[in-house]
């Protein structure tokens, strides 16, 4: 046995060396493939970033060369002029502010309304509960193909289609989400009864228990719902365009930011660089949300699986 090891030691050494060489070659192939693939996925974004720093003349003169993917370092002083113009002349910050405001209200309403409903469905006993459970499952499972036109009719009948009331038309339909109710039910069912019973003995009311005991325990699910609400409101394009009035010059616009891109595209004389700058300004907050809330987004994926 011992003899054997001595003999084979050198062989093992050589074998390992060969294996190592093979592994390095494999690694090189892997990383080259990875970099090529990454560039394939990133090139439109790199182009967007690069173009956003260029004046129209620089953009045109760079066409057809690798400079299309490089920022305009030759004119360091004017690199951010497009952003300046998008902010001051085109006032994109107003649209961004609108979007933040709408998102904030939707998040608060969505968590409160759907959270309350989820709590009742998860924890309380009352007549009529079976019908409501059935309705929830039904509305989640059945793929309802766009009732957006009747929704438009209802909202315009209910809230009218002029002035600030249209904002309610953006916010209220987004404040209810059957799927979020479902998420809340799932989460609340996992909270042990003892918490509530202890509070009830102390004389807390049901609503008091919800706000003082349940909500503080539910930070993860609230964060998940909030993140997805934010992304949803920020990225919504068609619905706000349908019900909000087209911005008039001189008035505060009601459009959220996605629709602002459209308005900016329609401004006569707008340059490619400015368009790209407006696209980037639109994407940055979502980018930050994705980076900051990674954990909750992945949790959301997990629960999206429950939907089936």
């Amino acid at each position: 046995m011992k003899l054997n090891t001595v003999v084979s030691d050198e062989y093992v050494f050589l074998h390992k060396k060969r294996l190592k060489g093979k592994r390095i070659a494999k690694d090189v192939v892997y990383y080259v493939c990875g970099i090529v693939l990454s560039l394939l996925f990133l090139f439109p974004l790199i182009y967007m970033l690069a173009a956003s720093t260029k004046s129209e003349s620089a953009y045109v003169s760079d066409a057809g060369s690798m400079a299309m993917f490089l920022p305009d370092f030759a004119h360091l002083g004017t690199m951010f002029d497009n952003y300046g113009k998008v902010f001051t002349d085109y006032g994109i910050w107003r649209y961004a502010l609108n979007s933040f405001l709408y998102a904030a209200i939707v998040i608060v309403l969505n968590v409160l309304i759907n959270g309350l409903a989820g709590y009742v469905m998860a924890k309380l006993r009352f007549p009529g509960k079976r019908l409501l459970s059935f309705l929830i499952i039904f509305l989640i499972v059945v793929p309802v193909e766009t009732s957006i036109i009747p929704l438009y009719e209802i909202v315009s009948e209910l809230l009218g289609l002029s002035g600030v009331m249209t904002v309610a038309g953006v916010i209220l339909p987004a404040a209810i989400s059957i799927f979020n109710i479902f998420l809340f039910i799932q989460f609340f069912e996992g909270i042990p009864k003892e918490y509530e019973e202890a509070a009830r003995i102390d004389g807390a009311s049901t609503i008091g228990i919800f706000f003082k005991i349940i909500l503080p325990l539910s930070k993860p699910i609230i964060a998940t719902v909030a993140v997805f609400c934010f992304i949803g409101v920020w990225n919504d394009y068609i619905w706000p365009m349908m019900i909000l009035p087209y911005p008039e010059p001189g008035e505060w616009p009601l459009y959220p930011i996605q629709n602002a891109i459209n308005t900016i595209q329609n401004i006569p004389g707008v340059t490619t660089g400015e368009k790209m700058a407006s696209l980037i300004v639109t994407s940055i907050p979502i980018f930050i949300v994705y980076v900051a809330a990674q954990k909750y987004i992945v949790q959301g994926f997990g629960s999206a699986g429950l939907k089936m």
Binding site: L37, M48, G64, L124, P127, S147
Partner: protein, 323 residues
């Protein structure tokens, strides 16, 4: 409209009351009791959700169903007549005449058939590619996921520049290096849908990649080791270990991507407009109902779409889960 809404509300409340009474009777049989006070609190807490869900979810569905059988034209809201299946007859007539609806169906089919395999294939490939413990894999993951972060409308506006017909557009100027002449990619019926398919898959596949990745982590590594011991190659490991392990993930991904693809609308709307070579079903429905105000006709298209998509989804679920 108001009277109809009140009637629907009354029916809804009556049905609800019937169910409540049923529950009460049933509870009495089992000698259980509901406390009045806790029932009242429960409904008080449910009230906002019920009101909003009734107004903005249930009512639109019911109206969509009802409008489908009327000639409702939203500029003359008082003149609304029940016309039976005439809308559907009109729709089929338009398909027969190769009108806009015909193109909408064809384009939606092209999009679905193109984007579902492309996006899912890409997502699965990328997930397998980054599913290993190596340095720098996280950076690759971020790169592949990056397009998901930008919204669909930003994607559309960005690719509008990339595919710009001008010689200075990104694609045209890059092809210009090789001496290929400039081309109007989005006005050309033979390339427009292809471009939209590619950019949609590019934008979306990072999302499904993450879903596949979480599915892959649930496959136990012993299975791969056992397969290696049996002398299985990379391909047969993929077929016999990875795919079966991903079954439920795959079902979920296929159905969600399929439903999403059937709803495609923003890309053609922003990038081209209401034109024969790119119009899709959702876009057609939107245009008929919103821009042209034919709410009744538009609703009948929505109903047809719901039936077709619902059936296909059910079939997919059966086929993929059944075995």
């Amino acid at each position: 409209m108001l009277t109809t809404t009140i009637i629907i509300l009354a029916v809804f409340v009556a049905a609800f009351a019937a169910f409540v009474v049923w529950d009460l009777v049933k509870a009495k049989k089992h000698r259980e009791r509901f406390r009045v006070k806790s029932t009242a609190t429960a409904y008080l807490m449910l009230l906002p959700a019920i009101v909003l869900a009734f107004l903005f979810i249930l009512l639109p569905i019911l109206y969509s169903l009802g409008y489908a059988f009327t000639d409702y034209y939203s500029l003359t809201p008082d003149d609304i007549n029940f016309i039976g299946f005439d809308n559907f007859a009109d729709a089929f007539k338009e398909i027969g005449n190769k009108g806009m609806l015909y193109h909408a169906i064809i384009n939606t089919l092209i999009f679905v058939v193109g984007v579902v395999p492309l996006q899912i294939g890409l997502a699965l490939g990328l997930a397998l590619f980054v599913n290993r413990k190596k340095r720098g894999v996280k950076i690759f993951k971020v790169c592949f996921f990056a397009p998901v972060v930008i919204s669909l409308s930003v994607t559309a506006f960005l690719w509008l520049e990339i595919l710009s017909p001008a010689e200075t557009g990104l694609l045209n100027s890059l092809l210009g290096i090789f001496g290929i002449k400039s081309h109007d990619w989005l006005r050309d019926p033979s390339t427009a849908m292809l471009c939209i398919i590619i950019l949609s898959a590019w934008q979306g596949c990072g999302y499904q990649m993450l879903i596949f990745l979480s599915g892959l982590t649930n496959i136990r590594s012993e299975l791969y080791e056992a397969a290696s011991l049996d002398g299985a190659g990379v391909w047969s490991k993929f077929i016999h270990v990875t795919l079966p392990g991903l079954r439920s993930t795959l079902v979920f991904v296929i159905i969600t991507v399929f439903i999403g693809a059937c709803r495609v609308m923003i890309q053609p709307m922003i990038m081209v407009g209401y034109q024969e070579h790119v119009v899709t079903l959702s876009y057609y429905m939107y245009q008929q109902g919103y821009s042209f105000r034919w709410v009744g006709y538009s609703s009948s298209i929505a109903l047809l779409m719901t039936i077709v998509i619902g059936t296909i989804t059910l079939l997919q679920r059966r086929l993929l889960r059944g075995k």
